[in-house]
Symmetry: none
Subunit: 249 residues, 2 copies
Amino acid sequence: MLKEERHIAILNEVALHNRVLLLDLAEKLDVSIDTVRRDVKELDADNKLKKVHGGAISLGFTNKSLPNKNIYSLSEKIIIAQKAISLLKDGAVIFIDGGTTCMELARLIPEHLKLTCFTLSLTVAMELLDKENVIVIFVGGQISKEAQLAIGANAIHNLSEIKVDYGFIGTGYVDALHGLTEFDWDIVQMKKAVIKASKKTVLLSISEKLNSQHRYKSCDVNAINTMITELHPENNLLNLFRNNDIRLL
Amino acid sequence: MLKEERHIAILNEVALHNRVLLLDLAEKLDVSIDTVRRDVKELDADNKLKKVHGGAISLGFTNKSLPNKNIYSLSEKIIIAQKAISLLKDGAVIFIDGGTTCMELARLIPEHLKLTCFTLSLTVAMELLDKENVIVIFVGGQISKEAQLAIGANAIHNLSEIKVDYGFIGTGYVDALHGLTEFDWDIVQMKKAVIKASKKTVLLSISEKLNSQHRYKSCDVNAINTMITELHPENNLLNLFRNNDIRLL
DNA sequence: AAAAGTACCGCAAATTATTGCAACATTAAC
DNA sequence: GTTAATGTTGCAATAATTTGCGGTACTTTT
């Protein structure tokens, strides 16, 4: 077998599976592992793939995670944010949660829209400062370093004194049976307070989070009035959520 | 499973749920927890995520990396901030105002110093998040778009319920005769509330602001306990302030 | 203060890489 | 056609990396 043939075959495998073990390649191509190793080394030098310990990985696969600046699943989140914005009319009083999806919501609020926005999130508040027609109210309290948002008794108390038209929240995990769950106890307390402070609660979640759960529960799914994913409302993945009186968007 | 594969999988999980336990990762990836720990350590070193006790959290849009704007008279402000920091001891409870000088103070707080910091400023709060030993409490309220800090009745009321050891404030204008003055009525109200909430008030001001005034008055100069400029305390420019019982630094 | 959970260190085993070398094939030159 | 030069391949010895485990130190929680 010619070297060129092998190179093409190797690139094929990598393109197909995103990753390949040298041992598998050696077996498949029926050459020694040393040869495969040398081949992969060359291909790596030519930037055709990335050689790693024990195998090779497709460039596309690795590059995707390199630009860390980019928000994970940004395009899906933009779809979600736009659906959420379609709910809003001038004069609405809303709450915007933290998290990247809610951040997109904040970012995509149109300039002309007149809103009053409550938030617990420093970054969301910063983002909203650019919106000429948005009144921003930060619900004070101790700031969680990890989540970059206000938590604690004071924040909860402050929330207890308001009632917004829409509360847009994210969640760490969501499951039709187990409801909205989180990793952090503190965060759960905040979600509960937000839900209580909202006439209508709108959940923003990318579909990848569906059917996952963690230790602490924020609420049941039917505590949510509207659920927005990047999927079409009729999508089969949402079937489990169709039973409850949830509006799917 | 290749190491790179795991790295990508870990970043996915972190991006998806913001936070994950090492134990969960170990189970999901079917490797020992030591391996996951080492992986997370590497990813942390590469600034792909943040490793925390027991798990990892997403950098997300945490990566503030705000372009260090050209701050006017930065070197003077650094001198002032360092003098201010010399007042602080472990366990102190302080308030930090908005403005670029106070921002420098926040930025230059040493890592080891254990503080509880109240603030009205979004940017100061963001800056303080990086300080491991600083508890950050944001005094909530409506956010002024220009000043990027909380103003209004709610914020003032919140301030009325606290008493900090040191209140570090800036001012728009300062004059020995006319005291501290501002351009904005709203801001003056906040300064007053901060002074009331501080056992000792420390004014941070570059010398360029000395002997200037504007329309609304926050307080008289002798309402200030300590005044810090970039000048040596014996400098003649400070003569007018030496009369009052102000400590010059 | 005690207990549980977590992190760090060093070690040994397993896996993978590298290197030098010999065998073989291919190419080029005479 | 023969020879020398070059390139390729497989092998073996050695080096490096990776991984899980045990012990210990450190954190957090109770």
